[in-house]
Every structure is written in structure tokens, then in C-alpha cells.
């Protein structure tokens, strides 16, 4: 059976499974639609949270970025896991005790203010839409590859499927579906990693394989070999190449961590556990399931980089026959070329491909007879999907990875679209503008909001402001700078009042958006950026992806200063804060 047919069958079978679950447990009331009844076990909730959380950015994009960033890719690894520690300690138990449906509801009540609620909704929508743009990039990559069409067409097919999928189910469908999706995606991620780790190091556990010696009998450690070969080709040393300066690494990681704890679609999951103590444990279980992928990803990245280089640099560097002949390029390269995400050009006319860093190699390239890097396009987001093909693994593994990538992107896109739709229908319409809207119309408004969000995100996803994981990082920065400080101060500072929260959120979101748009284009429209997005132009070397941490600090400072210089919150709010700090008396879990 050829690869394309096999991929269709595997992807189709997993899809049929998700849709069957979604239909079987269709949302029946608005309460179900948002939080699936408050009766889900922490382990199940943890697994569903992990599926919800690990999106195209984690599955498709992250290891590819690590492959090319090396040590600098650590910001994603630490940033997207460390946030759960904050979530478990600073937010989840208290928000569960508070016991409402959505994040803006908490902010609206805690700050006894409709304007605070509306500002929170705006922050939530901005962060979530940015996040969905990143997912769309990943979805486009996955669909274009497995249908063997160009990226634009792949993206359009993907958008249609996301739409049907998200509109069909509510959260209830999604919780059980997401458990199935977690199983598919973790299997799809680890199986090829195990095979590749075995091939390269003889150790079946990728986390250990990355620290092992090569299986070729040379006794050289894999990471040392990788460091050596990339530096010989002019690239930066793999295990030490930093992502910008140390300040940027620090703020980038911090931004992703506090963004994790501020993203509405993750927080909403902690409203669904039966008890406060389950909220703490749920965060732990979610991180266990996430860590399985996140500790595998560095191995996937490093091994993919090594395999990619070995595919092209087949012999000694600089020798006239040391590079692969174009006529002998492996099939996978041709298949990815069709998507427009991989490209090469024989600049020196030797019939072979050279892949190196022009600036890093300098004069040596000319001595080798090389006329420039000939891998003209290597989209980082293709690395994970191409990885099993690069390693020559059997077709069913390749098909499985495609199914896993699509599962990851779909599950997160659905969770985010749900957060957007509940923000608009529940928080804005029912909560503020149309208080007497019927349940039926509220559901309808939610679905229309979803459709709108998909179209906007799909359009911007055609020319995304970065690789999928980088776009998602921007979304985290926005959530970090706006929502997290308001939530945290709401719990830990009784004195925090509505003017402080509103001023803080607007400062955080405004400053971060401005910094991002300045370098990435207004509303991410290409060509409208005010300055080139290079380290020289950034303030103190802080990249737009890392700026969310700065925005969050500004948010905290402004919220604190304003709160402590204006009237304190009313008595009953101070009692509310005292009440959410203790577990007893959390609402009974409803049956599911």
C-alpha cells in the first residue's frame, strides 16, 4: 500500500473515532457546553488538559525549532512546563473554589466591575486568536503534506475540518475526545522517537539516547558528534547556542510560564474537577502527561538535525563528492518540496546539494567550491512530520505521525475556539449586553463567534508572523501580560481593586501588543512593521516573543500602584477573597 493511501486510512480512522465520541456525548445544556459538568476525575482531566494544551506548537513545531536552535530551544521546554507549577500553586485551587464557568466571570466578580470583565474578555480574545493563528500554520503544514498539495490549499482544507469539528461538540464531547486524542498523539510522537533513538544510539529511551554514545561503534556521544558536525558546517554549536542574550532567554521562558498560567483555555479545565484538592492534583497529572512529550522533544530535535545533515552531507565536508547528488535525493524531500515548505537550488552547478551556514563558514566555503547554502527553504515546522521519513522508518509510522499532528492541532484549536466562543456569547452577550438572551441563542452566538474566529485566524495563518511555536509564544506573551497578573492579584492582594485591575490589564496588553506589532506588523499584516525584526532593533535584545514578561511586570506595577492609591474594594469582596483561599465549601460537583 502506498504512503498516501495509508495516511488517509490512519488519519481517517482516528477522525472517525473522535467524531463518534463527540456525537455520542453531544452537549445538551449550556453548562455542559462550557465545562462538561464539574465531575471529571483528576487523572482523566489531566490527560484531557494535556491534549488540549499540546497543540501544533508542541507536536509539530517545537522539536523542529529545537533542532535548529539547539540549547536556545530550551525556552520552549522550560517555559511550557514550568507554568504548571504556577498554575497548581497560584491559581487553579482558588479559581476552582470560586466555582464559575469562565475567567472573565472571575475577574468581573472579584473586581465587582463590568468594565474589568469586558477588558478581560478583550485580553482573552486577543491572546486566543493569536494562538489559533499558530495552530492554523501547523494544521496547514500537516494537511498540505498528507494531501500532497501546497500549503495554502492544505490550510483551507484544515480550516473546514476544524470548523465542522469545533461546532459539533461542546466541551463534554471534547473532554472524552481529548483523552482519545492524547493517546493518539503521544503514541505518534514517541514511537518514531524510540525507533530513531535505537537506530542512532541503540538506546530505546529517547531521553537517555540523547545522552548516549553513537551506535556506530565510534564511542562518541551523540551530542558531541552533533556539536562537531554543525560547527564544521558553520552553524552555531548545538548544545550551547543561546536564543538571543541571557536576558532574552530569561524573559522568553518567564513569558511562556506565566502565559501558561494565564491562558483561558487551560484555566477553564480546572473549573471542571470535582474538588479543590483535585485542582491541585490535576495540574500535576496534566504535567506528567505533558512531560512525556516534552522530555522526548529534545531528543527528537537533536536526532532530526543529525539525520537531516547526514542525508545531505553524505561524505567528508569539503570533499567534491561529500554531498548528496540531486538525482539521488530521497523521496521525502520531493514530497515536501510539493508543499512549498522545503526548497533547494544547485547554486554551484555541481549536481549536488550543500547545506551550511554562509556567515559561519566564511571563506572556507569558496575553498570547497561552494557558492552558497543550497537548501534555500527548510521550514522548521516540517521537521517533526518529516522526521520518520528522514530516518527511513516504515510507512505506517509516517502515517501515524501525520494523524498525531492533526490530533494535536485539532484538539487545541477546538479548546481555544470554545474559549473564544464562551467569551463572546457567555461573557459579553449574556453577561453584559443581552442579559435575557435564551440558552439556544447563546449557543448559536457562540457558534457564530467560532466560525468568525476560524476565518480570521485562517486568513492570518496564510502569512503567519513566525513558525507555529513562535506565533503561539506571542499568544502566551499576551496572556502573560494581561490575564495572569489580574488573576494573581485578585487572589493574593485583598487591596487590589477594579481601577487597578483595569489599568494594569490595559497597560500590560497595550504595551505587549505595541511591541509585537512594531516588529511583526500591525495586526500581523506583512509589510506594516515599523522596524525590522532583528536583535539590533529590539530593546535590550528582548524579542517580541519574550516581551510578555515585561508587559506582565508593568501590569503588576500599575495595578499595585493604582489599587493602593484609590479606594479599597468593598467589604464583601474582601470576604470573597478570604473565602476562596480555603478549600471547604466549594460547590458540589455536578454529575456528568
Amino acid at each position: 500500500m502506498d504512503l498516501k493511501t495509508l495516511t488517509f486510512i490512519v488519519v481517517g480512522a482516528t477522525f472517525a473515532l473522535y467524531i463518534a465520541i463527540a456525537i455520542y456525548s453531544r452537549a445538551k445544556s449550556t453548562g455542559d457546553f462550557y465545562v462538561a459538568g464539574k465531575g471529571i476525575h483528576p487523572v482523566a482531566n489531566g490527560m484531557a488538559t494535556a491534549a488540549d494544551w499540546m497543540s501544533a506548537a508542541s507536536f509539530i513545531s517545537m522539536a523542529g525549532l529545537i533542532a535548529f536552535l539547539g540549547y536556545g530551544g530550551s525556552v520552549f521546554l522550560m517555559g511550557w512546563t514550568g507554568g504548571y507549577v504556577l498554575l497548581a500553586m497560584l491559581l487553579a485551587p482558588y479559581l476552582r473554589k470560586f466555582g464559575k464557568f469562565t475567567v472573565p466571570e472571575f475577574i468581573g466578580e472579584r473586581y465587582y466591575s463590568q468594565s474589568a470583565r469586558i477588558v478581560a474578555v478583550i485580553c482573552l480574545i486577543v491572546a486566543s486568536i493569536t494562538y489559533v493563528i499558530g495552530q492554523m500554520k501547523g494544521i496547514g503544514v500537516a494537511f498540505s503534506r498528507f494531501m500532497e498539495v501546497d500549503f495554502t490549499h492544505g490550510l483551507m482544507v484544515g480550516m473546514t475540518i476544524v470548523f465542522i469539528y469545533a461546532v459539533l461538540g461542546g466541551m463534554k464531547g471534547i473532554t472524552y475526545t481529548q483523552i482519545a486524542q492524547y493517546c493518539v498523539l503521544i503514541f505518534a510522537y514517541t514511537i518514531p522517537a524510540i525507533f530513531i533513538s535505537l537506530q542512532l544510539t541503540g538506546n530505546p529511551i529517547p531521553q537517555l539516547g540523547l545522552g548516549s554514545t553513537m551506535a556506530d561503534g565510534s564511542g562518541v556521544y551523540l551530542l558531541d558528534k552533533l556539536d562537531l558536525i554543525v560547527t564544521d558546517l558553520g552553524f552555531r554549536e548545538y548544545s550551547t547556542s543561546s536564543n538571543g542574550n541571557m536576558l532574552n532567554m530569561f524573559l522568553y521562558t518567564l513569558s511562556l510560564m506565566i502565559g501558561t498560567a494565564g491562558l483561558p483555555h487551560v484555566i477553564i479545565r480546572f473549573f471542571t474537577v470535582p474538588k479543590v484538592r483535585d485542582a491541585r492534583a490535576s495540574a500535576g497529572w496534566a504535567l506528567v502527561f505533558i512531560a512525556i512529550l516534552y522530555t522526548t522533544a529534545p531528543a527528537v530535535g537533536a536526532m532530526a538535525r543529525l539525520n537531516l545533515i547526514n542525508t545531505i552531507q553524505t561524505g567528508p565536508i569539503g570533499s567534491p563528492t561529500g554531498n548528496v547528488l540531486i538525482s539521488e535525493l530521497p523521496d521525502w524531500m520531493g514530497r515536501w518540496q510539493a508543499t512549498g515548505l522545503l526548497g533547494w537550488e544547485d547554486k554551484n552547478g555541481d549536481g549536488r546539494i550543500q547545506f551550511y551556514d554562509e556567515a559561519g563558514l566564511g571563506d572556507k566555503a569558496a575553498a570547497y567550491g561552494w557558492a552558497g547554502n543550497e537548501m534555500t527553504k527548510v521550514d522548521r515546522d516540517i521537521m517533526v512530520l518529516a522526521n520518520p521519513e528522514i530516518a527511513g522508518l516504515p510507512n505506517w509510522v509516517v502515517a501515524l505521525v501525520a494523524a498525531g499532528g492533526i490530533a494535536a492541532a485539532l484538539s487545541t484549536a477546538a479548546g481555544l475556539l470554545l474559549a473564544i466562543s464562551s467569551a463572546i456569547s457567555h461573557d459579553l452577550l449574556k453577561g453584559v449586553f443581552m442579559k435575557d438572551i435564551s440558552e439556544k441563542n447563546e449557543l448559536m452566538a457562540g457558534r457564530i463567534a467560532m466560525a468568525g474566529a476560524i476565518v480570521v485566524a485562517g486568513y492570518l495563518g496564510l502569512n503567519p508572523p513566525g513558525f507555529a511555536a513562535q506565533v503561539v509564544a506571542l499568544a502566551f506573551g499576551l496572556a502573560a501580560s494581561s490575564i495572569f497578573p489580574a488573576l494573581m492579584m485578585g487572589i493574593f492582594d485583598k487591596r487590589a481593586n477594579s481601577s487597578g485591575a483595569v489599568a494594569g490589564m490595559l497597560t500590560g496588553l497595550g504595551s505587549t501588543l505595541l511591541y509585537i506589532f512594531w516588529f511583526k506588523g500591525w495586526f500581523f499584516i506583512p509589510g506594516t512593521e515599523m522596524a525590522a525584526n532583528t536583535a539590533d532593533n529590539w530593546i535590550m535584545g528582548i524579542s517580541p516573543e519574550a516581551f510578555g514578561a515585561v508587559g506582565a511586570i508593568l501590569n503588576f506595577v500599575v495595578a499595585y500602584a493604582v489599587s493602593h492609591n484609590t479606594a479599597p474594594p468593598p467589604e464583601h469582596i474582601q470576604h470573597l477573597v478570604e473565602d476562596i483561599r480555603v478549600p471547604r465549601g466549594s460547590g458540589q460537583a455536578s454529575a456528568h
Partner: protein, 86 residues
């Protein structure tokens, strides 16, 4: 919750436990993984440079342990102050 001073004591104990956990959280990621990564890289465990290992493996394992440690300590604290659920 019975009495405000008891509530304040519970909250204080929670905050100090939280502080200990967050200090560890900060040290394994930001200090070992970023600030001190270069000196730590001089030490190797297997093929891993130590700073690199903390930033791409070690910090994640420690995060998981931290959450479960905090959750179990808090469960005990809830009972001690009689604020646990059911």
C-alpha cells in the same frame, strides 16, 4: 473556617510552603538552566552537559515532583486546619 486568626495562620503556612516550592522552581530552571548554564556545562553526565540537561530535561522532572509535593502537603494542611472538603 473558624476564627480569623486560624484562617490567617492557614494562609501563612500555605504561603511559606509555596515560597519554598517556587524557590526550587526558580533555581532549577532560571538559575541552573539559564544564568549558570555555562559553568554547569563544564560538568558532564553521560553525553549531557549539566546546564544543558537541566534546561532540556532536569527542570521538567523537578517541576512534576514539585506539584505533587505541594498538593500532598496542602492536603495535610487542609486537614490540620479543618478546612478540607467533605
Amino acid at each position: 473556617m473558624s476564627g480569623n486568626s486560624k484562617g490567617a495562620e492557614y494562609w501563612k503556612r500555605n504561603l511559606s510552603l509555596m515560597t519554598v516550592c517556587l524557590v526550587i522552581w526558580f533555581v532549577v530552571s532560571y538559575v541552573f538552566g539559564i544564568i549558570l548554564v555555562e559553568p554547569l556545562n563544564a560538568i558532564k553526565i553521560g553525553g549531557y552537559k549539566l546546564g544543558f540537561w537541566f534546561s532540556q530535561q532536569g527542570s521538567i522532572y523537578i517541576f512534576v515532583v514539585l506539584i505533587f509535593y505541594y498538593a500532598s502537603k496542602m492536603n495535610k494542611l487542609d486537614r490540620e486546619f479543618d478546612v478540607h472538603e467533605d
